[in-house]
Symmetry: C2
Subunit: 474 residues, 2 copies
């Protein structure tokens, strides 16, 4: 062994030893400090109890959601959305937060037309009107509409097999959510491709338009909208959602009259991008003001109903977290920042904008929580972080269980906060999912569908998690 090699060996030995020591210390810290000291545990447990009682008894967020819903839907770019943003800013200012600001962001601006029509024009079902809603982002039909034969298709493999029969027809994607999926988000995930990329797939084979069976768990006739995507290299064809019952009707009608023709008129339009805003309010951390816990939802909604569950409630829950800290006189060690992200539904520009800003900011983003799965009774939290951080958060479960949080698991958090890159942990609040897809993106997503106790217990769960993140750090 040469001197050089020996020195290098010794240096390596030294560094190896140092790393091993640091590793052991570090692992020790995680392995043996997962459980909070008894005094701290007791203190948080008592605070959690106060938070829960305050949320359930005062119902402030529920009342705010009512106010918000009275203002109507909040599609990105719309005048209504700007009025709601103004309302949100004023609401935050009245809460006497340490700072409130608007973060400007340009958003897509799509507008539904007034008279969306789908009517059968041939055979024994002639003149039958079907209940439709243009999908968000759809191109319009010509003013006189498109009249074409309809071909029913269940999935993209069937489409591919029948590609010769699709040309100049309206493709009717009719696969329902599988009711056998316990988790309705899984059921939704397995059916929503028809809505999100159906127009691209159908246009590839020369289709004239697309109708989809609404992606819903409810057997009613309210159509459910949602984003349709296009590809720049494939013709953009008009696309709309049919009410579930009318989808059944059309399917039956096609069995009896396969040559049935349908006329569809959509008069929606895409306007130039519009100026909009994320609405942000915060309580400054008393000990680590530059360390931030984000808690938020998305403030835009689709243009029917009022986006009560999706996601007015999620935003209001986040805001009430701050108010609960205020009314219980909890002065958080770290900064709690409430963000109403704009444009989650059709562009995520708000999330992207905040993420970019966070990258260049001096703030340390410790964690972010999003509530965007409806305001139902709490079940758990999904955590997107490394396993050691997950283990630490999981150790807090007993403090969250009184708010009906049964589990904390690795999982996806939320669309908006996914753009915050340098954060130790992103968390998604997970409430019960059985009723969400009944009303999602439809005219039935209204205030009356939100239950005050279910919503407020969710608020309490998010507030307790925020408290623990703020006081314990990650």
């Amino acid at each position: 062994m040469s001197n050089l090699t020996y020195n290098s060996f010794r240096r390596n030995l030294f560094f190896n030893f140092l790393f091993a020591l640091l590793f052991i210390l570090n692992v020790n810290q995680y392995l043996f400090s997962q459980n909070l000291p008894a005094e701290k545990f007791a203190q948080y447990y008592l605070l959690a109890d106060q938070i829960i009682k305050s949320a359930l008894r005062e119902r402030k967020g529920y009342e705010w959601l009512k106010e918000l819903c009275e203002k109507g839907p909040r599609l990105s770019g719309s005048k209504n959305s700007l009025r709601a943003i103004e309302w949100a800013k004023e609401k935050m200012e009245k809460l006497n937060l340490d700072s409130v600001w608007l973060q400007p962001v340009m958003v897509p601006y799509w507008e539904r037309g007034k008279n969306e029509t789908a009517v059968i024009t041939s055979g024994s079902f002639s003149q039958k009107h079907l209940n439709i809603l243009a999908l968000g982002g759809s191109v319009p039909t010509p003013t006189t509409g498109i009249t074409a034969q309809v071909i029913e298709i269940k999935n993209f493999s069937e489409l591919s097999e029948k590609k010769e029969q699709v040309k100049n027809k309206i493709v009717f994607f009719s696969r329902p959510i599988d009711q056998g999926s316990v988790n309705t988000f899984s059921g939704y995930g397995n059916a929503v491709d028809q809505r999100s990329v159906g127009a691209i797939y159908a246009a590839r084979y020369g289709a004239a338009g697309v109708l989809i069976r609404s992606v819903t768990t409810k057997f009613d006739n309210a159509p459910h909208t949602g984003l349709t995507n296009y590809s720049d290299t494939i013709p953009k064809i008009p696309a709309a959602a049919l009410g579930y019952l009318d989808a059944d009707f059309l399917s039956e009608a096609l069995k009896k009259d396969p040559n049935l023709k349908l006329k569809m008129i959509l008069n929606c339009k895409t306007l130039p991008d519009a100026k909009s805003f994320n609405v942000i309010g915060e309580i400054k951390g008393s000990t680590y003001p530059d360390e931030v816990i984000v808690v938020g939802g998305h403030f835009d909604s689709w243009d029917v109903g009022c986006g009560a569950h999706d996601d007015g409630a999620g935003c209001i829950q986040a805001l009430e977290v701050l108010d609960i800290f205020k009314r219980l006189d909890i002065k958080p060690k770290r900064t709690i920042r409430c963000i109403f992200f704009i444009n989650e539904e059709n562009g995520s520009r708000g999330g992207i904008k905040y993420g970019e800003w966070a990258d260049s900011s001096e703030d340390i983003h410790v964690a972010a929580i999003e509530s965007d799965r409806g305001a139902f009774t709490p079940r758990g939290f999904y955590v997107d972080s490394d396993s050691i951080t997950l283990a630490k958060i999981h150790s807090w479960l007993p403090i969250l269980q009184p708010a009906y949080i049964e589990w904390i698991r690795k999982g996806g958090s939320g669309v908006d906060i996914s753009y915050i890159k340098n954060t130790k942990s992103k968390l998604g609040f997970v409430p019960d999912d059985q009723r969400y897809m009944d009303i999602h993106h439809s005219a039935n997503d209204v205030f009356e569908e939100v239950h005050p106790r279910e919503m407020e217990l969710g608020t309490a769960a998010i507030a307790i998690m925020t408290l623990l993140l703020s006081e314990e750090g990650l």
Copy 2:
């Protein structure tokens, strides 16, 4: 030591040794056989998946509940309840069960009168009508009603302090459910004494009648009825529930006019006990036909609404468990017996009758499950059994989790099955509780308040538990 003592000592030693051995073998069995063999686990897990999908996709129970609700309420003794019992028997017979029978039982027969009235008769609020419902079992007022001053009382200690002021007055028990109670059954439990024994306590001090604030979590004006008890040694005074909003009104009115008088007319009556029935249907066990798993709910309801959640749904869930076994061609090892118990609401005569019969029967009652907490999304099971049995049932949790069963805990099961004495385990199905007390015992407990997926997922959870009890035994 005498010879006798020595022999006795030896005998004791022998028996002690024998017992110790048996104890060890027994404990071993429990300590080391909690986990199912992999093949069995996999088999149950796959069956559970089929059960869940079948329940959620077919929704048979949900449709049956609709039929049942169209028949109206089912108060014990009423003609309506007998018609519903007939319907239930026919429904069971159509399912091609191994046997279906009616178990006769005499039940109390109380009937509400037609024109229940509460009206303020003095001062500035004169002629204001309040929304009331006589409590179940209440005595009537004289035909011309009782007119009396009203005294507002929050709890029995306040009543005791003010006992001198109560004489000849209507006692208005006004304490609401504490919305801060996360578990609404706890909240209910802490307020329901006003309804269940308020009339006894008030009459003890000479009150003329009782009005209670409805025991509800919803701020609306639908009165919630429920049983009022009397004591044979204390005068029986009429008792009714006020709508929550009218309770608020009365409370405010009393602040402004403490001498306010109110006239109350109740024309309910108690008829002689009537003949009624438990409705019972079963699938015979293929291996242990004399070992029985009971699964049931109570078939009677209050006389407003249609007892959709309380407890039509619980009965229908139990019945669909049998149907699921049939449609999935599961031949249970043990007998699965579905029981619609009569008269849980005001006498438990059905439960008592079955319990007596079970005592004298040759059947071995292995376990009993009751569903009587509404048809909401599953959360868990309460188990009333010794710890070793609880541990065995708890070991099945992973098979139940796909049906959103998060936990299995020691706890109370159900009123009706509590009378089955010689059973290894009694289980109570526990769904989400946030909305139950909104509609409980009121005109709003109707079919439309039941969500198909929530109900059917509950059915699946109960069916899986029934399967495990039947195949594994206890």
